[in-house]
Symmetry: C2
Subunit: 242 residues, 2 copies
DNA sequence: TTTTTTGATAAAAACGATATTTCATGCTAT
DNA sequence: ATAGCATGAAATATCGTTTTTATCAAAAAA
């Protein structure tokens, strides 16, 4: 009996560690991260046969994982032409940012209106953790960058966690991830701006003071700022192909 | 050579007629319609083996079609426990309606702002067709109900067709289909209210006069009305299970 | 040259079979 | 009587192969 080709890494154990119950979910998560991180470039073809060997799983497992990634518009497919990573464009990012402003604002207003003591406590805790890391950020930027990313996300999640509308939260999450993909593709150092902590502090105070207009305004400008950064990246790069 | 089990209907030819390029797309479309129409009840298990025989295709084809239906939240899955039709609840419908009001309003405002002559022409045409059918609707309701549904959708699509934000349009479409599922499940006769034509006329006029506030208000109340209808349906039916 | 046709190759889609897991049923021990 | 365990049937998830389709390049025709 010939020995099977060794897969590039052990997906089965990685799956259990990641909390995935099935191989499909494990492949899904892994591919998702690879696309969001830019390891798979926009527009790149995702060949089932190739991925099959890479992960050491069957073809239909790969296909099903790719199909599920279509939910978040991270993967597209057309007729008999296989799968590709979703393309990017400046216009697309503008649309994403526009939608984010709308949804993030509404979610925040809803949370401010309905949030209870637990909600406030969660924000305080998340803000505290984030602040601690941001203190260290000035000294050793590369060291805590990854940690900052997680805590930053946790803070923003905490802000809107009292919004009960699941559809709103779902759409917001999709857009948030998409936006992050653009930032990571553009190698934007999201921690670079000096005023990042000041912004968080301002948002934090406005929310705790239950001032919806002020908080919305701050979040809106926060999102607007990213558009300018990405727009610069796209200048001088007319089109991207496979 | 034994003759294969005859499938319940010829999917391959139905696929080509429906414009589907692959079996997966054909199964996808068919299942989608079956769920939206209520032929598959909320919460119902969708057994792969059963569907496989019904459609006369392979198991992975079914699985992939089901996976893609997760994009629109029409199907859910939970590790090793198969697929089921998404459950329904009054709260879910309220969330959907709330989101629809927001997105529909924004899309309409954007269209009114950016719409050109072609956009106006499209609305006029769609409105005209819809009006013609609504005249006949009073006499022979059952006869033209299906046609009215299509034209009604076409009219509302035309209204927002000048909104360039693809994400907005995508989310709106998902919510619109979800909303329709609730209405169809509740056996609501969407053509019943006498004032349906009057509403459309009012929206039409407000849009053509480029009055965004007025048009948004009208669309908002149009959506609000459905919530009342669905809420009645849910009263007296505590929970639904498999 | 430019356009068509043809053939070869690579990839995607679809299938059928196998291995695992879940769930329900009935049995046993306390 | 009931909680817990064992057992088997049903259904899921997964795999490797077969069939179909698209792509590309070279040859033939215009």
């Amino acid at each position: 009996m010939p020995v099977a080709e060794p897969p590039l890494y052990d997906l089965a154990t990685a799956a259990k560690n990641g909390g995935a119950k099935t191989m499909i979910e494990a492949v899904f998560s892994r591919l998702r991260e690879d696309i969001l991180s830019g390891r798979h470039q926009p527009g790149e073809r995702l060949r089932v046969e190739q991925l099959r060997k890479e992960f050491g799983v069957g073809a239909s497992t790969i296909r099903e994982a790719l199909s599920r990634l279509m939910s978040e518009s991270l993967v597209t497919t057309e007729g008999q032409r296989g799968f590709r990573v979703s393309a990017v464009s400046l216009q697309d990012f503008r649309d994403i940012a526009e939608m984010r402003k709308i949804l993030e604002t509404i979610a925040l207003r809803s949370s401010i209106e309905h949030g209870d003591d637990d909600w406030e406590a969660g924000i305080v805790a998340a803000y505290h953790r984030l602040s601690k890391v941001e203190e260290r950020l000035a000294d050793k930027p590369d060291d805590v960058a990854s940690e900052w990313g997680d805590l930053n996300q946790a803070f923003h999640d905490a802000l809107i966690s009292a919004c009960g509308n699941r559809w709103l939260l779902n759409f917001r999450k999709i857009l948030h991830d998409q936006s992050n993909r653009y930032l990571r593709l553009s190698l934007v150092d999201t921690t670079a701006p000096r005023n990042v902590h000041a912004e968080h502090e301002a948002i934090f105070k406005a929310v705790m003071a239950r001032k919806p207009d002020e908080a919305s305004e701050l979040v809106g400008t926060h999102i607007d700022r990213t558009v300018g950064v990405i727009a610069k990246q796209f200048e001088g790069r007319p089109e991207a192909a496979e």
